[in-house]
């Protein structure tokens, strides 16, 4: 039974990590309708930057994580203001520019951090684990679950309870009317893009003690982010959360129970869900 126990815990932990990855993408796509294909690269770059802050410059882990988030927010802001802003509405150009930037980021990381993987030691305060019920629970993975929930709660509070959140929701539902009412939609979009990028970068360094940081992390993670956002429905925070845990479970249990179908365990269900319900599990019906 310990196999299922480990898988269950890891499903939540991996799901938590996936939420940090996908929440940003969901925000950006749901609210701005921009498919930010640079998202995987931001996750990876956040991991590299955070790892350097933590291991080379010896900042405390949480400070390094916030630093990575801030760095990615700045990077995201630059991309949005200089490049994406003038492309609103043209999805193809957005795809081209975000993929182009992801090429540049991937090569840049190779140049700066070389091709070797970066192993990030688990912060001392969370090192080790506890044995219970014949299983081994690492503190760090439990911390990830906690952090993901906290971030989810904060995001929900932001969207539901603050003025900024109300403006974001208004800007999504009807950008024209929002402008008429005086909401600075373009500035709002920059803020949202920065927030999404920050979440991705934060996710990257949070995930680093588990996944390490290595060239190719961006292409490993991006399809997962897309999967979750589509499955959960773009722009729905709840959908992102549930989708993340769903994919976490599917990934862990699916790989263990169907080793012959390892490559299909994620994409086959996705095809089925989308074929039956094209707007995802929680999304609104496409017009």
């Amino acid at each position: 039974m310990s196999l299922w126990g480990i898988l269950a815990i890891n499903s939540f932990a991996f799901g938590g990590l996936l939420f940090l990855l996908s929440a940003g993408f969901s925000l950006i796509f749901g609210l701005m309708r921009v498919p930010n294909l640079t998202h995987g690269s931001m996750f990876m770059l956040g991991g590299y930057v955070g790892a350097s802050l933590y291991q080379t410059w010896h900042l405390p882990f949480w400070l390094a994580a916030l630093g990575a988030a801030a760095a990615m927010a700045a990077f995201g802001g630059l991309i949005e203001r200089l490049l994406l802003r003038r492309l609103s509405g043209s999805i193809l150009a957005q795809v081209l520019v975000t993929l182009g930037i992801s090429f540049i980021v991937a090569d840049f990381c190779l140049l700066v951090w070389t091709g070797d993987p970066i192993s990030v030691t688990t912060p001392k305060s969370l090192a080790g684990g506890v044995r219970a019920f014949g299983l081994f629970f690492t503190f760090y993975r439990m911390a990830i679950i906690l952090v993901a929930c906290v971030v989810a709660a904060l995001l929900w509070a932001l969207l539901d309870k603050t003025r900024l959140g109300a403006m974001i929701r208004a800007g999504v539902d009807d950008p024209q009317m929002a402008r008429v009412v005086g909401i600075r939609v373009s500035r709002l979009f920059t803020t949202v893009f920065c927030l999404g990028a920050a979440l991705a970068g934060f996710g990257g360094i949070m995930g680093a003690p588990v996944l390490t940081v290595y060239p190719g992390l961006d292409t490993d993670m991006l399809p997962l982010a897309l999967l979750i956002v589509i499955l959960g429905g773009a722009g729905s925070l709840l959908g992102s959360l549930i989708g993340s845990f769903l994919i976490g479970f599917l990934y862990n249990f699916g790989q263990a129970m169907f080793p012959e179908l390892a490559y299909f365990v994620l994409f086959l269900p996705m095809v089925l869900v989308l074929a039956l319900r094209p707007q995802g599990l929680f999304g609104r019906s496409a017009s």
Partner: protein, 324 residues
Amino acid sequence: MTAIRVALLAALAALIAVPWWVPGDYYVSVASQILIYAIFALGVDVLIGYAGLVSLGHAGLFGLASYTVAAALAGGSGQFGAILLALAVALAGTAVFAALSLRATGIGFIMITLALGQIMWGLAYRWVDLTNGDNGINVASRPMPFGLDLEVATNFYFAVLVVFLLALLAAWIFVHSPFGASLAGTRDQPRRMTALGFHVWLIRFFACMFSGLLTAVAGILFVYYTKFISPPSLQLTSSAEVVLMVISGGSGTLLGPVVGAALVVIVKNVASAYIERWNMLLGAIFVAIVLFMPEGLVPGAPRIWRAVLRWLRANPAAAKGAAE
């Protein structure tokens, strides 16, 4: 004769004369590769530019055609039989692909095609009896149509050129036909088209089939070109690459995909010999295209050219100074 017609004829002449003006067989091979990817990109552009459907899984169909040829040949089939079988299998695959993907439009379509492409990639790895897994399948020899030995780079190039020109012609006819017009209608105004009595789903389905045909042709040529097929050719990055070719060249045009294919193939295969950071270069080129010609190189170049001419006319002194 308009300037455009002259330019097109010159380009055609240049293409035909390639073996004489490029410095060696290696470059003739690169030219063949450009044309093969151009056909692939044309196929994908039919969907992206003319149907308004972005597919991130076309490498799966491309690979399906390649694998069918390689597996058939390895199984003892003749060249002609292998090609026919590949076309049939790829078209059948496209039909399934389309039936599933057209359940959604927009981002849903992108995601289903991505997932289907990944499934094809997984099958290539795991169905080892058929595909030989990641060791791939080698193709022993190229066909010899009318006794012409296609192992010679120049001969192969001409064969590819003929197929390319036919594909271009087919695409031109497709796009300018009444069907093409209705396809554009479904891209721009799907609801009105339905109201007018057009069967939007069926129109899109046939567009997918035509796209699949071009993709299959490209896949068949590709496996004869490299004489090898293995799972990495069906990766997500391969699907993304051809989409980038279409967008950077200019979607919704016929020459855009050709120019985009040339751009990516040249940077990847030729520039990479001189520049270690060629990935960054490619990314930077894409960003530059978006900044200056977001509609793509082919539609954007004449616009830039006209702007340059206008500037020169407005500043004759500067033009003179530059000439001296």
